[in-house]
Symmetry: C2
């Protein structure tokens, strides 16, 4: 028997989420048919609200106000280091690690000529503007290692003034990782990035 159209619509939507196939989507949708009407409407409203979410006008992070909590933090304003990341999720990951106390700048992607993503599609103008306006002295490029990521880093290095120190985060064997299972490229990076003890 075919599921009614109303259910199929929701199944289709769920199956677009990362890690959700059709079977999981059907299971989730059917479990929701047992929810109370008010709960379903609350979920529906929450999704609608997502489309109204604001981004910080400085760094691009989620924000309830014009400027996000990180950018408006007085102590973080004092830092002259700016951490450049590809996406909001990367920014959240760094925040979770608790190792960076400056401000962020989110690019919303990396250069990718095949997908038609050039410098104008990324938040690079804003980056240049912020660096001159906010007195940034050091830029940490926390961009993921990939061909596109590498190209983006080279490009950023070129467009920034020479007075700014531009660095990229280190690559190598992850903590708890085992040489036996790590891929060859990571090992060669780790060899390259060896340090004196």
């Amino acid at each position: 028997m075919e599921l009614p159209e109303k259910i199929q619509k929701t199944v289709h939507m769920f199956s677009r989420l990362p890690g959700v196939g059709e079977k999981t989507a059907i299971r989730q949708t059917l479990s929701m048919t047992n929810w109370k009407r008010e709960e379903l409407i609350a979920f529906s409203e929450a999704l609608k609200a997502l489309s109204e979410i604001k981004h910080c006008k400085q760094c691009g992070m989620f924000a309830d106000t014009e400027v996000c909590l990180i950018c408006s933090n007085e102590r973080r304003k004092e830092s002259t280091t700016l951490c450049v990341v590809e996406s909001i999720t990367d920014c959240l990951a760094i925040e979770r690690s608790g190792t960076f106390k400056g401000r962020f700048h989110i690019l919303f992607g990396v250069l990718n000529p095949l997908l038609g993503i050039g410098p104008d599609e990324l938040k690079l103008d804003q980056l240049q503007k912020r660096i001159s306006e906010e007195g940034v002295k050091e830029v940490i490029l926390a961009v993921n290692p990939s061909v596109e990521g590498d190209a983006t880093c080279s490009y950023i290095k070129q467009i920034l003034p020479e007075s700014v120190l531009v660095e990229r985060i280190g690559f190598g064997i992850p903590m708890g990782g085992s040489l036996e299972y790590v891929d060859a490229l990571t090992i060669s990076k780790a060899m390259e990035n060896r340090r004196h003890l």
Copy 2:
């Protein structure tokens, strides 16, 4: 950094779904922040529509009209066998197997005194009514094996007229299953249900 309230609300809703923990819910919600506004609204509307889904007034299955596709199927109406199941998902599973060509009756649960589910909470009145009105001669109880399921089957056997043949689906080793890994209770059931070759 705390996620904005709008995002946390959606995360909370996602984490109520089966198989979704907080981490997955965050991942799914963040991936949705990249969706277009129209897509989010379509998802939101689909969920709202779920609360308006109708059930077949005969068997309890999902239906776009008053009576579902199974109950309104002329060929299935001719069958005098009724298959009683606990839930819509169980009904869908039997339909997928393609082994039953009669009509269904969904109980929407099993007797469970601890959770306060007595005969009045299940669709038992309708079952009795249908059996007399629709000329049912055979009832297959496709109720899952559990203490509550067993009690429900005994109860149904008692309340149905003696002229009706009441059967329960067979239990034993699943196809492709291995005796080595199957639990002792299943093996004892399989021994009990042995058949002449």
